[in-house]
Symmetry: C2
Subunit: 342 residues, 2 copies
């Protein structure tokens, strides 16, 4: 398989991304070609300086970069030779099976939607993120691609999330829930109530509404919501995890006795921090596009980039996109009512 890696647009420069590509090449024999897309001079200079040389590498020049401040649609029109667009183009042309990018999320999503189009049966691409919890990990989608959604979109997210949880997280029968303000059927807003009605008729392991209290005790594997809510929930969790660690640190350094205890048990905190680290989760897939598209964190380390490449590789080998098209075709009867209403 062949993967295009957009090496530009990360917070810490191209070198970090290229180092991640190197780790991936040495770890994954299944990769036949890795396209490094970005400023060719920068790429070649870093390859030379770091002594990185592999026959499976190919450099593809792109003279421009989409920055985090760029407004995606405008910027893509102006920066036609940006690395995200060139990497997406490689997938479109069949030169690559997947793209991995740490760049501007809106830019990746726009370029992906415009150039690759959505999969047959899917009307909106969605950002999926994996959130770890003590005994499980769950997929949350949409994490921010679609601020305003219709019930049909939530139904699509449910199908895509379920397949992703099955194929990538290896959960044979993922429990799918709609995020709402209570578990009772009467709870929810217009959007989630209508989504509930249709999801109950679909071929999913649908458990109905889930609420915030259900998220961290191994109750649900796929949490479906619109991108406004999903983005708030994801960022609240990230923010709270950081807050809890800073609180814990303050408590554990408050006096000499606590400092001693913390020192003795210190690998417990390191281990917890590691389990919470998004680095292990290999990036967030943009599901529903006609091509495998993986967004890595803008501040991703080389290991995080490697894991994003690994996840892209798995999405290809597990034919995630074919499964989405197949399951959406099966759901066509149930969803056709909604498509008309939507």
């Amino acid at each position: 398989m062949r993967i295009a890696v957009d090496v530009m647009g990360a917070d810490h420069g191209a070198a970090v991304v290229i180092d991640g590509a190197r780790l991936a090449l040495s770890a994954f024999g299944a990769i036949e070609k890795l396209l490094l897309v970005g400023n060719e001079d920068q790429i070649r200079a870093h390859l030379k300086a770091s002594g990185f040389n592999d026959p499976r590498l190919e450099v593809r020049h792109a003279s421009q970069v989409l920055t985090m401040d760029d407004k995606p649609v405008d910027a893509l029109r102006k920066k036609k030779d940006c690395s995200i667009a060139r990497a997406i183009e490689a997938v479109k042309n069949g030169d690559a099976d997947a793209i991995v990018s740490p760049g501007n999320t809106g830019g990746i999503l726009s370029a992906g939607t415009i150039r690759l189009r959505t999969l047959t049966g899917i009307s909106r691409g969605a950002i999926a993120t994996i959130i770890p919890e003590p005994q499980n990990e769950f997929v949350l989608l949409d994490a921010g691609a679609n601020v305003e959604c219709k019930p049909l979109h939530l139904a699509e997210f449910a199908v895509m999330g379920s397949i992703y949880a099955r194929e990538i997280l290896r959960k044979p029968k993922p429990r799918v829930g709609v995020l709402a303000n209570g578990t009772e059927e009467s709870k929810g807003n217009e959007l989630t109530q209508e989504a509930n009605r249709i999801l109950r008729r679909m071929d999913l392991n649908f458990i109905g509404n889930v609420e915030g209290h259900d998220l961290f005790h191994n109750h649900v594997d796929v949490v479906v919501c619109d991108g406004f809510v999903g983005n708030i929930v994801l960022k609240t969790c990230e923010s709270m995890a950081r807050g809890m660690f800073s609180w814990l640190k303050a408590e554990l350094t408050a006096n000499a006795r606590r400092k001693l205890g913390a020192y003795i048990a210190k690998d417990a905190f390191q281990s917890l921090k590691k389990r919470l680290d998004s680095e292990n989760y290999g990036g967030a897939p943009l599901l529903g596009l006609n091509g495998v598209v993986m967004k890595a964190h803008a501040s991703a380390s080389p290991i995080a980039i490697m894991n994003a490449i690994r996840t892209a590789k798995e999405a290809i080998s597990h034919n995630v996109n074919d499964a989405i098209v197949r399951d959406m075709a099966k759901a066509a009867d149930v969803l056709s009512e909604l498509s008309e209403a939507a």
Copy 2:
């Protein structure tokens, strides 16, 4: 001041609530009368058994209880003699200045809205909750009263939350933000974007959009959102805090060395747990009603009930409701456009 305490409807029975009332009476000299509302036999039996006797106590009988499973509006129609309705009635009749109840939130809100009505200038009551963070605590509202909101409602929540933060949390100039999927002006859904436009023109310390990442690093004092989003955020935070503790426990008990360290530093964990405990936050006020209404947690301990009574007492002595009416009158010009559109 006189406070009506609904002693029924808590998870662990009336005794716990009555014990909380006892703590409050001994702690707060400003309380002139405490009305215990509920089953008189049960109340008298517990007062006798526990040797609790205070001239400021008055028992008011109510033969029925609204359970957690009752649908509020229906149940209030059928259970006219329930303790929540009787306690609200005491405020309505001028026998009490405030009500504290650990019962069915929807029931308290419905009874409060129907019998007390909303304050002049306020169209919707809202549930406010206090969420602690390492260097601060913020008010989140609405935490679940209003699933579907209009921009006008968010503007009202901003005014009420700001006054609550100033008067009860003692923040001279509370920073008010609208919760959205990003901080940029272009982010948000229709509701939050329109709310933003109006809030910028109001006499508040309005800092614009806040996102999930802003919640736990002392960036905002009042977080405004609709009750669907607020309920999800509140419960996600509670769930994640429990998840983090269970994770930490698993890590700290994984081997003998870590167990030893954890034992030595154990008061650090207890202290953190205490700071996160909602017990200290004295319940969630239902703001915007023509009377002070305080919801205590259904599983509240006596100390939590005492703190809810303390918060009710402070809301009375700081004239929170008068301040809301005054500030809403000042905002009338700006809001009149919205009222027409809403």
